[in-house]
Symmetry: C2
Subunit: 233 residues, 2 copies
DNA sequence: CCTAGCATAATGTCGTACCATTTGACCCTA
DNA sequence: TAGGGTCAAATGGTACGACATTATGCTAGG
């Protein structure tokens, strides 16, 4: 006699709508760039009120699955992926989880060391050129006294891109974000540290160009290791 | 709980509210478990309409920062971290980003290999016991023909916990989720593979108990490497 | 014929009022 | 004391209207 009745509806209408649209995306009925019907149309098609539709769109937007533009020819568009949104979400979570900056730095140490062999193997000329260019700009900024951790993060993020593995690149980027705030304070306390870091960035590019994972690992261990020491825990 | 929030001005109102509450959480004025004022109170405190407040709550909920309960004594509560929410978000994102399962597996390979030295160094008796216990249950399930990738994921997630680094553990967990679907298909194609995997899990625990990072790395490389091969890309 | 500027329509955003639903707390009775 | 019923607090949902923003097309003047 069990199992005769099934739950009639899952609590909230908006989550139903979200699930429907997510499913449509998963199954390829909606692809990035596609436009969803206007709110007022969805209201009619789904037989719900505009508020519910809006709620659903807010959720999808927060998840990074759609982007909403206002005005004529506006509306909800299925987005190409927006890594920075996920990065921010993870950052929020890390903060809530009472993750200490030193823990994040340790994670960086582990992860960036591990991806170096891949980077050495796969980096192409475009990658190397991009890294060099970042170094150039960073050094110019340093001379002008405008160097900050954001530039350093740019280098490390691009380094992740050298693996030509989207997932690795995404995580590399994510690991930069949460740190910026606490690092920015550390940097002010020790403004000279930036110069050494820049030299190491250069050396790192050379090691990758030479396809020498061991040398790259040694440099990176020193480089991020010093950052770890600079962070009081 | 009065006077916590100030009226808003620019852009989309809901995002302003989200930012205010996020800031309150970041600065510790709101901690996990705390309850936000009711929608209608926030409406008055912020000088906006319920629609905006609701939008903000939906966004915060989708981000995993608050949980909304209905009914008396209900309302919006700042949540303890909800890794599975972010994991799901990342899964969606990875799908959209055209990340192939083999790319995710490669990331796992890189990351899990790198965290082994930490795990070997820091695993305590409780960690080892937990891993053994997972192995026990997995083997029992295997004998009963009920072994699936979720059990394997459990082992790998707990392995991340052995580093005693919250951030590392979180990433290890997150990396399991997106794969489950595609792996489930692969497993069906080769049901015998599970047994070998279980033996390797045992061997891995032994290596960690012996504080032998090299042996652990060798086993893990073989273990995840075979998974990588099993995934067509 | 071409261009600047304005009118218009499409679309999301915000506000208000009202009713429905859920759920815990309290009280009342057997 | 146990059980159930009622109440109140809170979110969930609907309807309608007004406003803001933007692309497009039309018109008037050069």
């Amino acid at each position: 006699m069990n199992g005769f009745f099934t739950p009639v509806s899952t609590g909230r209408i908006s989550t139903d709508i979200v699930d429907q649209i997510k499913a449509a995306i998963r199954e390829g009925r909606l692809a990035p760039g596609d436009q969803l019907p206007p709110e007022r149309d969805l209201t009619r098609q789904l037989g719900v009120s505009r508020v519910s539709v809006r709620d659903a769109l807010r959720i999808l937007e927060a998840t990074g699955l759609v982007e909403v533009k206002v005005g004529a020819r506006g509306g909800a568009f299925v987005t190409a992926p927006a890594p920075h949104l996920v990065a921010e979400g993870i950052a929020d979570m890390l903060r809530l989880a009472d993750v200490t900056p030193s823990e994040v730095t340790e994670t960086r140490l582990v992860f960036e060391l591990a991806l170096l062999p891949l980077a050495c193997e796969r980096a192409d000329e475009a990658d190397l050129a991009a890294l060099e260019e970042i170094c150039d700009r960073a050094e110019a900024a340093f001379s002008a006294g405008a160097y900050d951790v954001a530039r350093s993060a740019e280098f490390h993020t691009r380094l992740g891109g050298c693996t030509h593995n989207t997932a690795v690149a995404l995580f590399a980027e994510v690991l930069q974000g949460p740190l910026l705030r606490s690092l920015q304070q550390a940097k002010r306390a020790d403004p000279a540290a930036g110069g050494t870091g820049l030299l190491e960035h250069r050396a790192l590019v050379d090691a990758i160009r030479a396809r020498d994972p061991e040398r790259a690992r040694a440099i990176m261990a020193e480089h991020v290791g010093r950052t770890a020491k600079r962070i009081a825990h």
